[in-house]
């Protein structure tokens, strides 16, 4: 046990609760405990992930050969439409915000629950019916106009399926707005005394930014879908050109939500990565403030880049230029995060277990997706690759390589806290290796396919693309198989796993200062902050830190003046107690 962790734990002995008696039935009922709701979210959404994954596997099976031979063309369109809808609206968004957000935010800020527990439960209970509704659309002809559902196509193909899609997405949007209201009030109002915004764990910053985006952007999608359903059912002509409507207006409204939605899906994961990287490298997070505020910057910029999805549709040139520049600028705050994580890892004492492996996998894959993102933000290049497999590659690198890898890292990291059992690390490593290889095999070739002329959303393709597509399909199967070790691991460990201590990783954030799993109401007394959330290696300010002041062979390892990471000793964390005083202005 490290000094800082000892210090924080000792200070919180009073707050430390006792383990709750376990009542499994509460997980199936209308519980208002944020931890129960968090687990409900996580389990439900993971089931939907498996459903979405099976749909993806069917998509890849169809694409294994150039002919349309496995499913009919209509069914193929429904497969990827429902695949994307499930993955986005029923897996990433609710798992990252509703699941981990609900479980962790109150614990991290030392609160006993969310601000509006009943609202919280309502937000969750909207999700299962919405998901089942969406699945039921396969009985009446599932929606088949893509997850973007552009009119006029969405108006003329399968009314029933389309209406179900609209209703389901409206319900999920409502859930997401309600959750966002709850998070904002909770984070702003319910932090323990002494925890200013700049003492919050970075995950809370990320959740704040995410909730703001969800709050502001989701309603516009609701507006678009309301108009779309009028067109569909009543026969108005908002988006129908035959009656004077304009389909481009729908695209604007849709992307005004759906671009921020991609940041709703990645920002919480950024927050989790910040936590995990710091804990498992045993080093303070590098550039706390830069990471925190870059979330806000991404959130602001994210609201003004939506038209980059419309570079070839009815957008005027000025808009294309404006949106190109703003889209590209997002690389700057994102880069700040990426480099800060790298600097956190650099010179740390890496505990190379599954959480950190997945976190590092996240960084390595997300960067590829980010780079292809910046490429498609460039208008001339996007004119070429828009609506091709290059985009499919980009979106899976950021969504799977990014969000899903990040969520896996989070599962491995917080599983001991949530269940009180450790996950098996060998199975975890196997899971990681299979996922990493399978993922790259499945999605890397798609870049080339797209550039060379394979458009997306097609069930049949030019035979010259057959070889690469087969490779993608094999990769997708490998990816499907890679899920099995995880499932086995979770089921087995939950039942028979090694009991976890309260703070198995020696972390400093408050969720680790209570029992695993935490009791109802989380803490016995209000927890206190004896150290910052990331003060690894700092101990109490009276103790000396055992770090070489300088090390000529590997300066990155030292804390001193010749460190490659630091220009001069920082008064708060300086290795020598005599150099230490006051609050750092560097975090």
């Amino acid at each position: 046990m490290t000094q800082a962790a000892q210090y924080q734990e000792k200070a919180n002995l009073l707050a430390h609760g006792s383990e709750p008696e376990n009542n499994w039935r509460q997980y199936f009922g209308f519980s208002t405990d944020h931890k129960v709701i968090g687990i409900q979210y996580l389990v439900t959404t993971f089931i939907f992930y498996l459903v979405g994954g099976v749909l993806a596997t069917l998509v890849r099976t169809e694409l294994a050969t150039p002919e349309s031979d496995f499913v009919s063309r209509e069914v193929y369109n429904s497969l990827f439409t429902v695949h994307a809808t499930v993955m986005i609206f029923l897996w990433i968004v609710p798992a990252a915000t509703g699941g981990f957000g609900n479980y962790l935010v109150p614990l991290m800020i030392g609160a006993r629950d969310m601000a509006f527990p009943r609202l919280n439960a309502i937000a969750f209970w909207i999700i299962p019916p919405a998901g089942i509704l969406l699945m039921s659309s396969f009985l009446v002809g599932a929606p088949g106009s893509g997850w973007t559902s552009y009119p006029p196509l969405s108006l003329i193909s399968g009314k029933a399926g389309e209406m179900i899609w609209i209703l389901s997405v409206l319900m999920l949007g409502t859930s997401s707005i309600l959750a966002a209201v709850n998070f904002i009030v909770t984070i702003v109002k319910m932090r323990i005394p002494g925890m200013g915004f700049n003492q919050m764990p970075l995950f809370c910053w990320a959740m704040l930014a995410t909730s703001f985006l969800a709050l502001v952007a989701t309603p516009v999608l609701a507006g678009a879908l309301i108009l779309l359903s009028f067109d569909l059912i009543v026969g108005t002509n908002f988006f129908n050109p035959t009656g004077g409507g304009d389909p481009v207006v729908y695209q604007h409204m849709f992307w005004f939500y759906s671009h921020p939605a991609v940041y709703i899906m990645i920002l919480p994961v950024f927050g989790m990565i910040s936590e995990i990287v710091s804990v498992h490298s045993r080093k303070p997070i590098f550039g706390y403030k830069a990471i925190a505020y870059s979330s806000i910057a991404i959130c602001g910029l994210g609201l003004i880049v939506w038209a980059h999805h419309m570079f070839t549709s009815g957008t005027p040139p000025w808009l294309r230029m404006f949106f190109m520049i703003t889209s590209m600028i997002i690389a700057v705050p994102t880069g700040i995060k990426v480099f800060s994580w790298l600097a956190t890892i650099w010179g740390g004492k890496l505990r190379l277990e599954s959480p950190l492996l997945f976190a590092m996998g996240f960084i390595s894959l997300f960067v590829i997706g980010g780079i292809s993102g910046v490429m498609v933000a460039s208008v001339p290049w996007d004119i070429h690759v828009h609506d091709t497999y290059f985009i499919v590659a980009h979106l899976h690198y950021v969504l799977f390589g990014g969000s899903v890898f990040g969520l896996y890292a989070a599962f491995y990291h917080w599983f001991p806290k949530i269940t009180g059992k450790m996950l098996n690390d060998t199975w975890g490593k196997l899971h990681f290796a299979l996922s990493y290889v399978g993922f790259n095999l499945a999605f890397m070739p798609m870049h080339k396919l797209g550039i060379e002329g394979m458009n997306r959303r097609i069930a049949e393709y030019d035979p010259k693309f057959a070889a690469l597509n087969l490779l993608c399909t094999i990769g997708a199967y490998l990816l499907a198989v890679s899920t099995l070790p995880f499932l086995v691991n979770v089921c087995w460990s939950w039942a028979y796993g090694k009991p976890a201590s309260d703070n198995p990783w020696g972390a400093l954030t408050l969720e680790w200062m209570t029992t695993s799993p935490p009791p109802v109401e989380n803490f016995e007394a209000d927890p206190v902050l004896a150290t910052g959330p990331y003060d690894y290696g700092m101990g109490s300010r009276a103790t000396q830190v055992n770090v070489p002041f300088s090390d000529p062979h590997s300066p990155g390892l030292s804390a001193g003046p010749s460190s490659t990471l630091r220009a001069k000793a920082d008064p708060v964390v300086a290795a020598m107690p005599s150099d230490r005083q006051g609050e750092s202005n560097n975090r």
Partner: protein, 208 residues
């Protein structure tokens, strides 16, 4: 509450736990529900903003607006309606002032008046609907007109229910007091919001 292990005192909607947190909240309230409502109204505002922007775009991409053959909108009735709705915002504020002085009678009076004004507004709007010469699907203008005013009308209706709900509860003695009147504030904030949206809507649909 099937299966919940929590006792209901700890899980009620206005959950408030420690004294510290209460201290940081609005002095008069023990909870964050008013803040929650305001945050929620941001989302509501964004729906309307999205619909407004759609309206403005439809307007500017159509060669003629309103499309040829659309009868001109009558201004008198909606004008009166607008005046009624705007004044109701001031009326409802009196209720807030009253309850802060523990004047429950005043609260009932002003909420009653506001409810009446809201009902008149809705009736006026329905009257207008029935006397318009175009229907929902007549043309793009008609569709936007009905959807925008209709969606706003639903909000008025909801606000009216809130007001009536508060009115009903205020009949119980001491239900609302100068220190505990969340319902009153919620209804008021919501009503102001509905009012502001109407003003923009009116300017956009009838005047512009």
């Amino acid at each position: 509450m099937t299966g919940s292990t929590l006792d209901s005192a700890k899980t009620s909607l206005n959950y408030h736990h420690s004294d510290e947190v209460q201290a940081t909240a609005h002095a008069e309230h023990h909870d964050f529900r008013v803040l929650g409502i305001i945050v929620f109204l941001v989302a509501e505002g964004m729906i309307f903003l999205g619909l407004f922007m759609a309206y403005l775009t439809f307007r500017s991409v159509s060669p003629t607006w309103p499309p040829e053959g659309t009868p001109k909108l009558e201004l008198l009735l909606p004008g009166i309606n607008t005046v009624i709705l705007i004044s109701s915002s001031f009326v409802i504020h009196n209720a807030d002032t009253a309850i802060k002085k523990n004047d429950t009678k005043g609260l009932r009076l002003w909420f009653g008046v506001t409810a009446a004004m809201g009902a008149i507004f809705l009736a006026g709007q329905l009257y207008e609907y029935f006397h318009l010469e175009f229907g929902l699907t007549t043309n793009l203008f008609a569709s936007t007109f009905y959807v925008l005013t209709g969606f706003h009308g639903l909000h008025v209706l909801f606000g009216l229910m809130l007001i009536l709900g508060v009115l009903w509860r205020s009949l119980k003695p001491n239900h609302y007091s100068s220190t505990a009147h969340f319902g009153v504030e919620a209804a008021e904030v919501y009503w102001h919001f509905v009012d502001v949206v109407w003003v923009i809507l009116f300017l956009m649909l009838y005047i512009l």
